[in-house]
Amino acid sequence: MTFDGIPLFGNGPLRTIREPIGEQLTPRAALGIPGGGLVAAGPLDFAITFTGRLITDTPAQLQELIESITGAFVSPPGKGELVDEQGNAWSAISFVRFEPLGPFERGRVCSLAFKAKFVNLRE
């Protein structure tokens, strides 16, 4: 998987999850409209989540990899081309979240399970 040509998460295993497709539903009450029910507020943003594991030989290398991922964030988010492990490509995607799913695991190697989200934000 690459983002703007950079393999952000090293060579660790990844799974690709397409986020829900459809309408953003908002409670009427949240918009100040009297009565119950929901309002269709428009199509959901196209989003992809990766789950996987960063794998390195040492804790220091794992920390370096996390710092390089942190360096890929800009605010407001920039846009780039995302290419998954199967070669599927999406353009104008923003990297918006990296979430560790637990502590550093230390066995034969050092590893960290994670979740990362990319969204096609509207202008």
Binding site: P13, L14, R15, T16, E85, Q86, E105, R108
Partner: protein, 148 residues
């Protein structure tokens, strides 16, 4: 690892008499595992939470009140030491570790039948002390062996 008839077995500075065997098993309950989108087969596995489980099998001497009544309690953590024959040390090894008692069980095997009309043969009670070996650093093997 199975160690038969280890010598000088002691836990918390108390001698444990009649030890017939000690086993040291390595086990992991939770694995770090991963799969990828390309196929159904596992692509990553690592044992990141290891337990070293030690079982001391002790034959109790009915004539020795101390061996019957003095037992370590679960939760007690202290030094376990013994001498045992290990393949790569022809004169044996001193084995030591810090370990925490997790269970103590005692069984009285049924009396065996002797031949003829003789009375059944009594068998000694057997106590099994199970401990988890504790690493001082998390990275070091909790079981230390030193050739004699």
């Amino acid at each position: 690892m199975l160690l038969i008839n280890p010598k000088s077995v002691a836990f918390a500075d108390r001698s444990l008499p009649g030890v017939r065997s000690i086993t040291i098993d390595r086990k992991t309950d939770i694995l770090a595992e991963e799969w990828i989108d390309a196929g159904p087969h596992q692509v990553f596995c690592d044992a990141t939470k290891l337990r070293t489980i030690v079982r001391i099998v002790q034959q109790l001497d009915i004539g020795d009140a101390a061996s019957l009544t003095v037992t370590p309690l679960p939760g007690v953590q202290d030094q376990l030491t013994f001498q045992a024959s290990i393949n790569n040390a022809p004169r044996g090894c001193n084995v030591s570790m810090v370990a925490c008692v997790v269970s103590v069980t005692t069984e009285l095997p049924p009396a065996g039948l002797s031949s003829g009309n003789a009375a059944p043969v009594a068998r000694a009670a057997v106590r099994t002390i199970t401990l988890h070996a504790i690493s001082p650093t998390g990275t070091a093997d909790p079981v230390q062996t030193t050739p004699i």
